[in-house]
Assembly symmetry: C2
């Protein structure tokens, strides 16, 4: 049984910092992505995603039709867009957008086969290849995303059409894998958590059973994909079926100890595992999830909440291998980490889950998006150097500026759906207690009848004010970084007990509760076990990791050194800079330049001011040097 | 015209440090490698290299024979062994070894086709494929190595048999590429410098012409390999013909600016270029060589003289991309760099060439060899961390201990021939001046009649004493790292003029000249442009780069910090440690361990002694942490 239930997205009306991003998603990203999916934007790589659904519908009706276009997982772009748009409808009550979604849903429904199968790639043609290639074909992945979209849209509007499609699709998959006992498990995990959503919305026990089945059988036969390849005479990319760790198939999931393989897949899989573990009260599976959580957050996570430190397979590397420069740290992987954190928190009220959730959100996830909402990072480095990043073979994948929309568009719609639905992560409830997991300005309604009005400039201020309607308890996460904090009710300071990172205050109708966190900038050090970070420090302020860009530092970040005896200072909010932010200044050193590659002359250190901006805002002013970690003098 | 002529290897009888390594080569490596080539050592991967020559001979005589075994360049292992063994015969007058070489040479001679063609791969079978695959087939590479072997053996013994084979082979190649105008240039450059050696020994102008031809036509048509592939229906590995930089084919060589592509190939090619430039007085080609030299030594070289910083193509990366951990820095590449340096020096008397030559030699080249002479590094990292090196995908190639002999055995015999022939690099002459480019104890005779008896414990002592026979000038390189130095003749200090890194002293029969260099350990800093080395320092003493291993530092090198206010101290020579060496001790800091991955508690720094050994001796005591560069407190 969950200890915290998430709220419905439509019950949170954002304000402040969150609203700005939700508006960006609603006003820019969703309309833009809609046009991209319909191939209406010149100069953007063709998507074909909507057209695929039209063609699949025609194929089912025996009409003349075009061929499938794009990646084998192209359908998921439509699904993620519907999901993001559905949340945005929840938030903004946008009737026009709702109409557009309905149109798209009609196309999706028309593309579903009579038996419930739904995947345009194998509906437009090659029907005989359905379910033959779990390793590469992404049928279960696309199905899962459409299930998530269906739940989101049902939640937003109460309309059942897409939910019916998704449930019928789930029943089709159930028959294939459970009734007809087909072997195998999803190549790209995702459907596990999606099935749990459908189960939560519909109560359909087949969905729970199917999710549990995929979790239970995975890795029991590590050679499944090898057998699968032998049984067919076609492939898509020729994925290696024997890279068991990458495929998350090397060991039964309950026996996992280390986070490994493709980081996005891992994050989705662990989320589904935790959903099933909590719902079925499976202690062994829960313990595996906890071990994986610890493996990630204690040994394999960047300070920015980035995970998956190697571009080889976009995957987790080994413990403490966290290079700043050859990094992968995909935006989607941090979104998946937030999902995993949210599920861990639902089963164990502990501030560390919220801490990681907000670190990932405010840093790596938001770093994925250009301030104009039109360009995106997939890879989120902690160091970038023009001339080396993008150029050196080991850093070809590390971009100095964001991409426009491109063919494999996983991150942009994923970020959109995350931001649009952030209310679910921020607020939760259980009986007469409401939970503030993230500090998100705006209005929240709970099923228990309580309502919160939250005013805050967080993350740029540590002061959070709640006005309460109704009676009950309000549980607030105290981030581990806020060593000092104060809570007050109606102006009177309270003596509060911090229980695993949460304080709980009982409140009555009309109460005003103020929480004051300490967002003073602080130097942060990495474990001595991380070779890449020896002798270095970073600066964080509240949940924000700061970074140092050339544009603010005379085009030379590589020469900068921290003087950790001098305290960094947060500057006043500047609404004109980078769409509004607080920069940071700290007195440090700049080493003098050296003529030769190696020299035995001690480089002089000259006093200088070092200027930082929040990490998520880097690369909005052209290509330049950037570092999160600076050497300490 | 050369400004310095190298001496003959047989005119240098080593002593001291050099003798120890030459004995290791002579007593261990050459006999061991001989057995490997003959497949006489159990547990070592089959070589088949000698057998290939036997089979090729049989094939030519129409006898029943076995098939070709091994890599396409397997012949070069035999050639490199002959070359190393020939030098060793020069040095040690080993008649038994000479007999063995003669036997092998007989096999080689028997494997030469009537038209002069010599390559067992396409003699044992598939004769029709000769010269069809310059991109991959290594025929010119193997030919080149055999030419070098032939010159070495002729120099050692005066025996012409192999030299005749090589010259006949050169004439065959000349007919193919010059007379018959076959298109193309060597896939793996090497033959250019080898042809120049044959030319120097025989005066055969076709060799000069052919070397010049390969240099001149390379890169003029960057698409040559693409055309080549289209013209045949077979391949070996499927090398990418369009990776122009890797193939050194993207631009005519005279227009090269940056050192790029496979570092060993580049080093051999640049050496051949410089040979041709000097011999033909080609200013434009000389200027290209100088630019490439500067590109390497000012922007793309490790402090250890390692080059080729990326494992992707074992190649040069971009400027200042010199990671310590994901490094390649192949042993062979540093040998090639020494060759290039030696040729640059022959045309321009400048100490920097000798400086680089000795840095590469004492650090990366010697690091390639286990103290027992039986195991070898190909890759020479500047940081190694058990649990990450060998394990992380980006560091799979970075070994923590040396390999035994294995199938692609390029580095071991290459190191053997380099060490056995080090006299050529150390000493040179021009008219009545003899040159001491490296400080190598022992006896040297010069063509001009002078003789030097050099006594020194270099590199473990800065004092070098020469006793002179004959009259003339002695030119001694003053390494750039020796800011202070003293020269004395017969006990009287001389006032000397340092001209581009050389001092010249006139000497008469019986004179004793003493040069005292300052090998006090010194901190060395990298340019601020090298991102991987920000905030770090290393320690060198004389030509030796020191490193810090776990075994000497409580298994924890990652926590160590330099205190550059405290001077490092060289300990007394310890003959029992690592076959004899001087360790180094410096007072520094050890940061305290930290429980969590990230923390805002300032890690305490505790005073500690830091213990170093010469870099070349690392990894002789099992797997452990190692760093050349430590963060500076």
């Amino acid at each position: 049984m969950k200890k915290i239930h998430e709220i419905s997205v439509k019950n949170y009306k954002s304000d402040g910092f969150i609203k700005k991003y939700q508006e960006l998603v609603h006003n820019v990203m969703i309309p833009y992505q809609y046009k991209v999916l319909k191939d209406e934007i010149d100069g953007v790589e063709k998507s074909g995603a909507i057209e695929n659904f039209i063609n699949a519908g025609k194929a089912l009706r025996g009409e003349e039709h075009g061929s499938f276009y794009g990646m084998v997982f192209q359908d998921s772009d439509v699904a993620k867009w519907i999901e993001a748009a559905a949340y945005s409808v929840s938030v903004f009550q946008d009737k026009e957008l709702e109409d557009k979604i309905d149109e798209v849903i009609d196309l999706v429904a028309n593309a579903q086969d009579r038996d419930g199968y739904l995947d345009t790639r194998f509906t437009i043609s090659q029907k005989e290849r359905r379910w033959q290639n779990l390793l590469e074909a992404h049928e279960l992945y696309c199905a899962g995303h459409m299930m998530e979209a269906a739940c989101a849209y049902y939640e937003a509007t109460g309309k059942r059409k897409l939910l019916d499609v998704a449930e019928k699709n789930a029943e089709h998959i159930y028959r294939h894998f459970i009734t007809d006992k087909a072997e195998g498990y999803p190549g790209h995990p995702e459907i596990e958590l999606a099935l749990m959503k459908v189960y939560a919305v519909t109560g359909n026990k087949h969905c729970l059973e199917l999710a549990k089945h995929f979790i239970d059988c995975r890795g029991v036969d590590p050679h499944y994909y090898e057998k699968e390849i032998k049984a067919r005479d076609w492939y898509i990319w020729g994925n290696n079926p024997s890279d068991y760790a990458y495929q998350q198939s090397d060991t039964p999931l309950k026996r996992l100890y280390d986070a490994k393989g493709h980081a996005v897949r891992a994050g989705y899989l662990y989320s589904g595992m935790k959903d099933v573990a909590t719902e079925t009260d499976d202690k062994e599976l829960s313990e595996a999830c906890k071990r994986l959580w610890n493996s990630i957050t204690q040994k394999r996570m960047y300070i920015t909440g980035g995970i998956g430190s190697t571009c080889h397979g976009e995957a987790f590397s080994t413990d403490y291998d966290l290079p700043s420069d050859t990094v992968y740290a995909e935006t989607c992987a941090s979104i998946a980490l937030m999902m995993f954190a949210e599920r861990m928190l639902a089963d164990e009220i502990n501030g560390e889950y919220g801490d990681v959730m907000e670190t990932a959100f405010y840093n790596t996830v938001l770093s994925g998006i250009q301030t104009d909402g039109k360009e995106f990072f997939y890879v989120n480095p902690l160091e970038a150097v023009p001339g080396i990043s993008e150029v050196a073979q080991t850093q070809r994948h590390v971009r100095l500026t964001r991409f426009g929309w491109h063919a494999c568009a996983c991150c942009p719609p994923n970020a959109a759906r995350l931001i649009a639905s952030i209310g679910k992560y921020a607020y939760g409830e259980k009986d007469d207690t409401v939970f503030c997991n993230l500090y998100a300005a705006g209005e929240v309604s709970f099923k228990n009848g309580m309502k919160l009005y939250c005013k805050t400039e967080y993350p740029y201020s540590g002061e959070i004010r709640y006005k309460i309607e109704g009676n009950g308890n309000i549980a607030m996460r105290i981030p581990a970084w806020s060593k000092k904090y104060k809570a007050a009710k109606n102006g009177c300071e309270l003596s509060v007990y911090n229980n695993n990172g949460y304080i709980i205050i009982s409140a009555q109708n009309g109460d005003e509760i103020t929480l004051t966190l300490d967002i003073s900038p602080r130097y942060v050090y990495a474990s001595e076990k991380v070779p890449a970070l020896s002798g270095k420090a970073s600066i964080c302020a509240g949940p924000l990791v700061y970074c140092f860009e050339g544009v603010d530092n005379n085009d030379d970040v590589l020469s900068l050194r921290f003087d950790t005896n001098s305290l960094p200072h947060l500057n006043e909010y500047d609404e004109k800079l980078l769409c509004g932010t607080r920069t940071l200044t700290v007195s440090g050193f700049k080493r003098e330049a050296q003529n030769s590659l190696y020299s035995d002359s001690v480089p002089a250190l000259l006093k200088t001011d070092i200027h930082g901006i929040p990490y998520s805002l880097w690369a909005n002013r052209g290509k330049n040097q950037m570092r999160v970690w600076l050497p300490v003098k």
